[in-house]
Amino acid sequence: MAVGVLALQGDFREHAAVLHQLGAAPVEVRLPRQLAGVSHLIIPGGESTTIGRLLDRYGMLEPIRARAGRDLAIWGTCAGAILLARQVLDVKKGGQPTLAVMDITVRRNAYGSQLDSFETLLPIPLLGEPPLRGVFIRAPQIETVGKGVEVLARLEEGAIVAARQGRLLVTTFHPELAADDRVHRYFLEL
């Protein structure tokens, strides 16, 4: 089974480049038929309203929901985390389509505008030393997690920035921009 990168919009090529380096041959997924042969799917950073609309328009929401966490492991980075969350706060007026498969509540643009985008060294116990360089770009924040969700990383002040529920993984930052393949390797093992 192949590893897919949702290629509707966003920094999917950066994810694909890391996967190439790890020896996986990533498949760009834009249509339902491209999803069929995929066992792992990365939803990249990008604009969640844009990706959500295209998922809806091209009939991808149901096929992904039907397999999410079962025979399809999914990792959402940033916009991807928004798309996976069961509840999203500060959505576009009138709401926005999401997959809503993971038991977390996510707030969009939780830190402010681009001027509040930041980098920080992020200790992730699961990955060990050294800490990962967390790149947060107009990032969302995970406000609450459900019972079956494991918190994987927090900022110093406590904000949840990475979590896992079985075969569903979210990070509100961008490991694909940090020249560090540990989260990708972790995901491929899910």
């Binding site: 604009e47 309203t49 681009q114 985008s117 930041f118």
Partner: protein, 346 residues
């Protein structure tokens, strides 16, 4: 006139004291010193911040937002209502303006930064990133836009230039900038000045894609030529195109520009957008093309879908059906030379 680089070192020393203010800085590439003993980076895009605590407005976050916009459409809007339509249609960002380029062209006069009140109203209407334009070289307009807390500044030839020699020193700002270019020399000069994103210029407000194609062909053709050059030839090439050698070398190594490069200027149809994507750009700006057309919402959606599925002619055909009237295009040769916007910028 303009820049001339025999060797491309000292320019990179200029932003350093400013960048140091953000925290401890190291370079991914080798360190070295210029003749004055001051340490120089090889090139801005490779500067990395060694973060301790939260470091805002690093080069990675500036370039990173452009990465997140890739594969998307950035739409010019002149009212909060248009901004909502753009967001609803799937735009990845909006460009807040008082007049779209077609109207600037038609009405003439000096085109300036938009009213901050309008920009704030547009910012409040949407949840996606908001960009706004400052005149070339008008660093106070840029300061004002930064103070408004928007997400990106376009130092744009669509507005009347404020300085016919200097562009804004974009390293001095926390907010990232996008700049226009017609070829890699111009693009790399902008990157040297701190632009975190580029767009080919095209000819804004014409609804005619020919200049956008010319500029994208130039950029990607030059990149392919660079990749076949020997190291010795890169020095001369950098001199000829008046671009910093280290950035030229970086393009040759990467096989792409050091920052994200969108297309702009004359894109009016879904097929235009897909054409630019197939030529190699990372995404598209659509200015007058949407809200000067018969059915903006439907056209905006169609352009978004064609940008995603740019390699799928069946989808492009499908979304192109029944869009109503496209904006009226202008033959470039009919525009008086002094009114060509792409020639602004140095």
């Amino acid at each position: 006139m303009g820049y001339h680089f025999d060797v491309a070192l000292p320019i990179f020393c200029l932003p350093l004291p400013h960048m140091l203010a953000y925290g401890k800085i190291f370079y991914a590439t080798k360190h070295r010193r210029d003749e004055s003993g001051q340490e120089c980076a090889d090139s801005p895009p490779e500067i990395k911040t060694e973060v301790s605590g939260m470091e805002k407005s690093t080069w990675t976050t500036k370039v990173g937002l452009a990465q997140m916009l890739k594969g998307g459409v950035i739409m010019d809007v002149v009212t909060p209502e248009q901004a909502r339509i753009a967001e609803e249609a799937g735009a990845v960002a909006v460009m807040a303006l008082e007049r779209v380029p077609a109207d600037i062209r038609a009405q003439g006069g000096v085109a300036r930064m938009s009213d901050p009140e309008l920009i704030v109203a547009i910012k409040e209407a949407v949840t996606i990133p908001v960009m706004a334009k400052a005149r070339i070289g008008h660093f106070v307009e840029a300061q004002v836009l930064e103070a408004l807390g928007i997400d990106y500044i376009d130092e744009s030839e669509v507005l009347t230039p404020a300085d016919e020699e200097h562009h804004i020193n974009k390293h001095k700002f926390n907010i990232p900038f996008v700049c226009g270019c017609r070829n890699i020399g111009e693009g790399l000069r902008r990157v040297a000045e701190g632009a975190a994103m580029l767009r080919t210029k095209g000819e804004a407000g014409t609804g005619n894609v020919v200049e956008a194609v010319r500029h994208a062909r130039a950029v990607y053709g030059e990149i392919r030529r660079l990749q076949s050059m020997g190291e010795d030839e890169l020095f001369v090439y950098a001199k000829e195109i008046q671009a910093p050698y280290e950035l030229v070398r970086q393009v040759a190594e990467l096989g792409r520009m050091p920052v994200v490069n969108f297309a702009a200027g004359g894109i009016a149809t879904p097929a235009d957008a897909a054409l630019m994507m197939q030529l190699g750009v990372d995404g598209v700006f659509v200015g007058s093309g949407i809200f000067k057309s018969g059915n903006p919402m439907q056209r905006a959606r169609a352009i978004v879908e064609a940008t995603t599925h740019y390699n799928d002619p069946e989808i492009i055909a499908h979304v192109s059906k029944g869009l109503g009237e496209a904006m009226v295009g202008i033959e470039i040769s009919k525009i008086p030379a002094e009114q060509l916007m792409a020639q602004r910028g140095w």
